[in-house]
């Protein structure tokens, strides 16, 4: 490896303040007055090799892998708000790989593996809790769908195992509803031991700190007004509230707002923006040790380390950029939950919120260079949190080499030219 390519790595090792018990004790003695900044706020330069729009999970991960794997360090991540403040702060942190298609499974298997190594990799405690997900199945067609996944997942080393109703109840003692004779009796479960949860803020902050140490820059409060194309049609830079920034390559990683941005470059994409809500209960003592997913009832939850039940349901109908709660959708989710977990009637809602996702025509992600040379997008992530590390790894590869990464080669924009949908969700009604 030539020296100049090694430098970022050397820099990385030297620059980053090691976080450990020892450093915590050392700093504790002097009242924590000398902890360095996790990331700096350098002055904005006129131009960069690569600018990534969006300091959310995918944008930060992309910057990290560009610097670390490809030695591209003259990079800036621009963010109109605060880093880690987009949908990475609004999801339900479920990390899993129980997908159905050859195109998807290896990607998510990789993402889960990268998440598991992330604490070591970034020297930042992600609080990764590989705690297993249990699907509570209440319908035979759903069981068939899950069994189909089980067989194909096995090919790619992802685990899914059927368990009996009794076993489901043993592992989720709070599941007291859905008994024989009830409206949707529990008929069994599927166990996905690869699944886990972690701390979303740590993911954003850990990446930001590592990017900074590798020589990349993060610019918050930097809102992109438009993408700027050169005379040849290729990307030239971006106009922001802080002026023009030139860039040879620009990657858009802004979830929900993808089309808003690309339309400033005259580019249309097959995406619709939708709202998905989540909510948490009051914190209570440990009650549920696994991630509980109830696909037939239409909700899922896990208990955070703080004790809150973090609960998600179905997305709202209609396009939306308003992060809001649809009361009727919310009530459906809650009553579905209460039918299986009747003791939660006395548990209290503490906080609820909405987040954006942009959904492609086939409900599968898009990662590609667009018709505007030098302009890349990563979008259409439905449940994109679990995809963050592998999404960053593969987008960095695409941006640096110009070639799609093996794990994402089927998720191009070109597929829509021939309506060659991936259709992870199966059939037209599920779409």
């Amino acid at each position: 490896m030539p020296l100049d390519e090694c430098l970022p790595i050397v820099n990385y090792v030297l620059m980053m303040q090691k976080y450990s018990i020892a450093s915590l004790l050392r700093h504790g003695i002097n009242n924590h007055t000398s902890w360095p900044k996790a990331w700096r706020s350098p002055p904005l330069k006129e131009s960069y090799d690569v600018v990534i729009i969006g300091a959310g999970g995918h944008g930060l991960a992309t910057a990290y892998y560009l610097a670390k794997e490809h030695g591209v360090t003259n990079i800036a991540v621009v963010e109109r708000g605060w880093l880690g403040g987009g949908n990475i702060a609004r999801n339900t942190i479920t990390i899993r790989s129980n997908y159905m298609r050859d195109q998807s499974i290896p990607f998510y298997v990789k993402s889960v593996a990268l998440y598991e190594e992330m604490t070591k990799e970034l020297n930042f405690n992600m609080m990764h809790s590989k705690r297993t997900m249990i699907d509570v199945i209440q319908n035979y067609p759903m069981m068939r769908d899950r069994r189909r996944r089980q067989h194909i997942m096995d090919i790619y080393g992802s685990t899914y195992k059927r368990i009996s109703e009794a076993e489901v109840r043993k592992r989720i003692p709070a599941l007291t509803g859905g008994g024989p004779g009830s409206r949707l009796p529990v008929i069994g479960g599927m166990v996905h031991t690869d699944a886990g949860v972690n701390r979303h803020d740590a993911v954003a902050w850990g990446y930001a700190r590592a990017i900074d140490a590798l020589g990349g820059e993060i610019h918050q409060q930097t809102a992109v007004e438009s993408l700027v194309r050169g005379a040849d049609g290729a990307i030239e830079g971006l106009q922001t509230n802080r002026g023009l920034i030139r860039a040879k390559k620009v990657a858009v990683a802004v979830s929900g707002h993808t089309t808003t941005l690309t339309e400033t470059a005259g580019l249309k994409l097959p995406l619709r923006t939708m709202n998905l809500t989540a909510f948490v209960s009051e914190p209570v003592k440990p009650l549920v040790d696994v991630i509980v997913n109830c696909p037939d009832a239409g909700f899922y939850f896990s208990q955070s380390d703080k004790g809150e039940m973090v609960i998600g349901g179905a997305p709202d109908m209609g396009q939306s950029f308003r992060r809001d709660i649809k009361q009727h959708v919310f009530e459906d989710t809650v009553s579905a939950m209460l039918s299986l977990f009747p003791s939660f009637k006395k548990l209290k809602l503490m906080r609820q919120w909405g987040g954006h996702l942009d959904i492609a025509q086939d409900a599968s992600p898009i990662m590609d260079e667009t018709d505007v040379p030098g302009l890349f997008v990563t979008a259409g992530w439905w449940g994109g949190y679990k995809a963050i590390p592998a999404g960053g790894l593969t987008l960095a590869h695409l941006v640096a080499t110009g070639r799609p990464h093996e794990l994402m080669k089927d998720f191009t924009l070109k597929r829509f030219r021939h309506l060659d949908y991936v259709m992870e969700t199966g059939t037209t009604t599920a779409r």
């Binding site: 249309k268 995406l271 939306s320 009727h328 309506l419």
Partner: protein
């Protein structure tokens, strides 16, 4: 939950309706368009940060398919640009 004006039933709760998506351009003659135009028509839906014309089906009411203009930032139902003339 929005309050959607049905031309027959008056303002009704959103829960009575099914969402029908944004109104697309008129369906082109499939025998007189290029592959790209056809694919674009099918896959590219309006997704504005602002007013969008969209369809709702009053499925738990009178069964009408209606269209409204709605601001995707606020969910306010607004006057469409076409209503000016």
């Amino acid at each position: 939950m929005m309050n959607i004006p049905c031309p027959f039933c008056g303002p009704r709760n959103e829960a009575e309706f099914a969402f029908g998506g944004p109104v697309k351009p008129r369906r082109p003659d499939p025998n007189a368009t290029s592959d790209d135009e056809w694919a674009d028509y099918l896959t590219q839906v309006p997704n504005p940060l602002g007013p969008v014309e969209e369809r709702w089906w009053h499925v738990k009411g009178c069964g009408t398919w209606l269209s409204i203009w709605r601001d995707t930032r606020t969910h306010d139902i607004v006057e469409g640009p076409g209503n000016a003339d």
